[in-house]
């Protein structure tokens, strides 16, 4: 580990933004109240596919307080999305086509939110309806997206490799659409001053959001600023810009007044992307000792005709996880008339690893090899397709430490053999994997004449703790207390090159940039100290001047930077640091983990309850133990939802059956087990000098499999179609 003058790295640090948030002082997108503000409400299509023939806006326009009603027949001009960009492939209100139920077909603007919502309910539309394609099963197999295959010499096909294997397992699993359910509903406040636009909206990538808004509204990107200092959850859903934000900005332009739109909870389910439904089949071939000889992973994922995120659940799971001489990954997409899909926390890895790790458990049952031992026997030191080594992999240690903490040894592999009163008790485990990713990044570090250091980067803190990461790393690098560092994110006007807060990559990518910026800022401070004629160090050789713990020192003289800046008459000294991505590395970068859990199922009524959970992760270096534990624990709770609760079936007419918080169940406290989270302390020497690989999503990966495997152990019933609900266990 690198030396740390104040030793905050890896320790428990309170969130620097915690008190402000707890006291209600943090302003989110909908909290901005500019002068002259108008309020908008979306109108959504109530049919699954077809076209809008007519929209009757007369009652809405006559309603009190209504300023304007925009429809496909009175559109707000928006450019189409770039064909290179994934996501929705149309702009709302630009044509009469209805692509999915819930598509935005109108925007009502009024003087209060209540009046806008009320008038929106008075808008009625006539549709020409055509049948919707909504069944993933009917549409499968979908269109292949490039098959990944590697076969041993002389093996003609994966089917041949499977056929030649002494033991084979075929596992087909499915899951419905799922929703992100961020705590903050999607909201945007748009303010134009002359031809400059400021947009307050939750954005995972503020600079990319600003560029998108500029392109779609046809304005100079330099004149668009996105501000999202505080954002209540992203999980992927806030990485693109959705129609709500674009229409809000366009309406504000058209009306010459600031406009705010806040989606209702129900609207978020359909107007904003979801994790697509997916069906997968894993086929494993192994020898009788459980050593893999062949692995096939096929998937059919939902791809909305309206565009969306492509569900590729084999690429970063089966294609890298285990050693096998023969492997084939076939990821297919099925076009459906459903609301747009978008990445959702461990977007492909959570479903993909549910499939693989369920199949591995079945292989363990078939071969009689203990699940941990089975995974050790198939441990990969390089990825099985390209043969590239992993940068830093301590998964075996995760298994060992996890098994020890959980008390795995002595587990009897006899399903339905343990009870506690009327509860059947079972244990299960699974391996986790998630790609690590270092983007190019920038950060700015500023010494201020108020004695404070400001660390800035145009990324976003979604509630995940990036403010604190910036503050801790800046403090550590500069040798000053965390309390004297202000962190700044969520502003597209910060120096270009800030990273998007997705792919668990903010810490991985931004920390090296912060370190570079700190070094550059120190250099700038020293340079100013020798060059500024009013400086006590004026005229000295910079090599003779050193910076140490917030002070500039030379020739026995030591001055803190605040005093120095005052002496020089300079309000601040700052510098920007930038880092490159590590795309040319020969290594594969992944985080790893091992989950162990105990599940109880009532012998009569079948409800599955997770009793305890132990997870051990190998994620490189951790900046803030407190936030890391919270993040990993939160992921595991999400995984409980993935396994047991979360599903939104789509009906034949394109309606989501559970598109409300009342019907789409997420875990509550009572569903949350005792969770023991632990991580290994092995900084990754290849991903960066700092060695952090990120941990935003790994915690969720394979939780559902571990729970499903424990349910099998408890009951003898294998549930392949998520969620695992009591009706499947009666």
């Amino acid at each position: 580990m690198t030396t740390s003058p104040i030793g905050r790295i890896g320790r428990e640090t309170d969130r620097v933004d915690g008190p402000l948030k707890a006291a209600g002082g943090a302003r989110y997108a909908a909290d901005h109240q500019p002068e002259g503000l108008l309020h908008a409400h979306l109108v959504q299509a109530t049919v699954g596919r077809g076209s809008v023939r007519r929209v009757d806006v007369s009652r809405a326009e006559a309603a009190p307080g209504v300023v304007a009603v925009f429809t496909p027949f009175r559109p707000l001009p928006l450019n189409p999305p770039s064909p290179q960009q994934s996501g929705e492939n149309y702009s709302a209100l630009q044509d009469t086509a209805v692509r999915f139920r819930g598509q935005v077909i109108g925007l009502v603007v009024a003087d209060t939110p209540e009046r806008a919502r009320d008038a929106a309910a008075l808008v009625s539309a006539d549709y020409a309806v055509t049948p919707s394609r909504t069944s993933l099963a009917d549409g499968s197999p979908g269109v292949a997206q490039g098959v990944v295959q590697k076969l041993a010499d002389g093996v003609p096909s994966i089917d041949a490799a499977l056929a030649a294997s002494p033991v084979t397992v075929t596992t087909s699993v499915s899951q419905h659409a799922q929703h992100h359910i961020a705590m903050e509903p999607h909201a945007t406040t748009a303010v134009w001053v002359d031809d400059h636009l400021t947009v307050y909206t939750g954005a995972q990538a503020p600079q990319r959001a600003a560029a998108t808004i500029a392109a779609r509204l046809g304005v100079d990107p330099a004149k668009v600023r996105v501000l999202c200092r505080y954002t209540g959850g992203g999980f992927g859903q806030r990485s693109p810009v959705w129609n709500e934000a674009l229409l809000c900005a366009a309406a504000a332009r058209a009306l010459g007044r600031p406009v705010k739109v806040v989606l209702s909870r129900e609207q978020v389910f359909t107007a904003i992307g979801h994790r697509g439904a997916v069906r997968q089949t894993i086929r494993l071939g192994a020898d009788t000792d459980g050593r893999l000889l062949a692995l096939s992973h096929e998937s059919d994922g939902e791809l909305p005709a309206a565009g969306g995120w492509q569900m590729m659940p084999g690429r970063d799971t089966s294609a890298v996880m285990y050693r096998t001489p023969n492997i084939r990954i076939d990821q297919r997409l099925v076009t459906l008339d459903t609301p747009p899909t978008w990445s959702m926390r461990a977007p492909a890895e959570a479903p993909g690893m549910f499939a693989l790790e369920t199949a591995m458990d079945e292989l363990s049952v078939r071969t009689g090899v203990d699940p941990v031992e089975l995974r050790l026997r198939n441990h990969a030191t390089e990825d099985p397709v390209e043969g590239r080594p992993f940068s830093s992999k301590h998964l075996e240690e995760c298994y060992r430490v996890g098994a020890e903490r959980f008390g795995w040894s002595g587990r009897r592999a006899r399903p339905r053999s343990r009870t506690d009163g009327d509860w059947l008790v079972g244990t299960g485990m699974a391996s986790a994997i998630y790609p690590a990713w270092r983007q190019s990044a920038t950060a700015r570090v500023r010494f201020g004449d108020d004695g404070r250091v400001t660390v800035s980067s145009a990324t976003s803190d979604l509630g995940t703790g990036s403010f604190t990461v910036l503050a801790v790393v800046g403090a550590d690098e500069l040798g000053v207390p965390v309390g004297s560092v202000d962190a700044e994110v969520g502003d597209s006007a910060l120096p270009p090159g800030g990273v998007g807060a997705y792919g668990s990559s903010v810490t991985t990518s931004t920390v090296p940039a912060v370190q570079a910026a700190c070094r550059a800022a120190v250099e700038a401070l020293v340079r100013a100290a020798v060059e500024n004629p009013r400086s006590p160090f004026a005229g000295l050789d910079p090599a003779a001047v050193r910076y140490r713990r917030g002070r500039v020192e030379a020739r026995g003289r030591s001055v803190d930077f605040r005093t120095l800046l005052h002496a020089m008459g300079v309000p601040l000294v700052e510098a920007v640091g930038a880092t490159d991505p590590n795309t040319t590395s020969p290594y594969r970068f992944h985080c790893f983990g091992a989950h162990f859990c105990e599940v109880r199922v009532h012998r009569l009524t079948g409800e599955p309850r997770v009793a305890r959970f132990t997870s051990v992760f190998d994620v490189g270096r951790v900046v803030n133990a407190k936030a890391a534990r919270s993040q990993l624990r939160g992921s595991i709770i999400w995984g409980v939802g993935h396994a047991l609760l979360e599903a939104d079936p789509i009906e034949p007419d394109g309606r989501f059956a559970a598109a409300t918080m009342a019907d789409y169940l997420v875990p509550v406290h009572a569903d949350t087990p005792e969770i023991d989270v632990h991580w290994l302390d092995h900084p990754d020497p290849h991903i960066s000098e700092f060695g952090a690989r990120g941990l935003g999503e790994i915690g969720l990966v394979s939780v559902a499999a571990a729970i499903g495997n424990a349910v099998f152990d408890a009951t003898g019933t294998r549930v392949h179609d998520l969620p695992i609900t009591l009706d499947k266990l009666l």
């Binding site: 079948g606 609760l645 569903d671 009666l730």
Partner: protein, 325 residues
């Protein structure tokens, strides 16, 4: 804006006089306000009855009288309720969330509307919300819907846990209307959907629930409520059972059994009660008696598990009751 008159009558007589078709009484508001926001309920007059003197728990004379405006949390916490009618306290404890129980009234709880997703979504047809418009649930998503009492027009379950416990206890509701007061058995108070699922109660226009009367039933000290659901808390029942059993030695001499989550209304199971009486309190007895519960169930596409779950819920409730002996 959708406007409505908001009035705060000071007496029951005044409240009832002001009420009529198109009006709605507001107590805790946990159902009404919710459904007004969704535009499922669009009263033109809202009568806030919270000032009416419909409070208090009274146990004089043996039974239990609960004022309709008593809050769920207060009733659940009352030691007299917990001692004499554990099934009531437990049914309340397992309802909704702590916040909701603190607001919601007993009268409102009994009159809460179904949680059917189509009923609550005004972009879909629903015979209960818009008579004659059709029922998407019967051919649609119906995993949570009723297997007892459903018609071709509606298969929505009644969501109240409390009502299931009260039906088991032969509770009555006191109603006050312009023509005077009357008392109705809670069992008969709820109507089957038939062709008129929008008519849910034996409640005349403007009539107000003023009180719930639970008859004395000393052996209800041995009663329990079991609620089965996907989520461990803050979720309506897929299945529930209210049971009370009077034993003579090991022999069951009297029993009360009702189930929730199964019917279009709280469902009393007298056949199960008869099958229990005179038999020894053993799991075999419970299993055999519970088997009679599924008579007449009519599953839909996604709720075929419910009859089996009902049997098992009953057995579980009876077993758990045994442990309180």
């Amino acid at each position: 804006m959708r406007s409505y008159a908001f009035e705060r009558p000071g007496t029951v007589t005044d409240a009832v006089r002001r009420a009529g078709s198109g009006s709605a009484f507001l107590a805790g508001g946990t159902t009404l306000v919710d459904l007004m926001k969704l535009e499922v309920m669009t009263p033109d007059r809202v009568l806030d009855i919270n000032r009416l003197p419909l409070r208090g728990l009274d146990t004089t004379g043996g039974g239990l009288r609960i004022g309709a405006l008593e809050r769920m949390s207060d009733v659940a916490a009352d030691p007299r309720v917990r001692r004499a009618y554990p099934v009531l306290g437990q049914a309340l404890d397992l309802s909704a969330s702590g916040q909701l129980r603190t607001m919601a009234s007993i009268g409102g709880n009994l009159l809460q509307r179904t949680r059917c997703g189509y009923f609550r979504d005004v972009s879909t047809p629903c015979n209960k919300r818009l008579p004659g418009s059709g029922c998407p649930a019967i051919g649609g998503e119906n995993r949570t819907h009723a297997v007892l009492g459903a018609s071709g027009s509606c298969a929505a379950t009644h969501p109240s846990d409390l009502a299931v416990a009260l039906v088991a206890l032969d509770a009555k509701v006191r109603l006050q209307g312009r023509e005077g007061a009357r008392t109705v058995d809670l069992r008969d108070f709820y109507l089957l959907p038939g062709d008129t699922p929008h008519l849910e109660h034996d409640l005349r226009p403007g009539e107000l629930v003023t009180e719930v009367v639970v008859p004395a039933l000393p052996w209800a000290r041995r009663s329990t409520y079991v609620k089965i659901r996907d989520r461990r808390s803050f979720e309506f029942a897929l299945s529930s059972a209210a049971v009370a059993v009077r034993l003579d030695g090991d022999t069951i001499v009297e029993a009360r059994v009702a189930v929730g989550g199964m019917g279009t209304r709280p469902w009393r199971l007298t056949a199960v009660e008869r099958a229990l009486v005179g038999r020894r309190a053993t799991e075999e007895t419970y299993v055999a008696a519970a088997a009679t519960a599924v008579e007449g169930t009519r599953p839909l596409r996604h709720n075929a598990y419910k009859p089996e779950l009902m049997k098992r819920t009953l057995v579980r409730a009876l077993l758990e009751l045994e442990q309180t002996r």
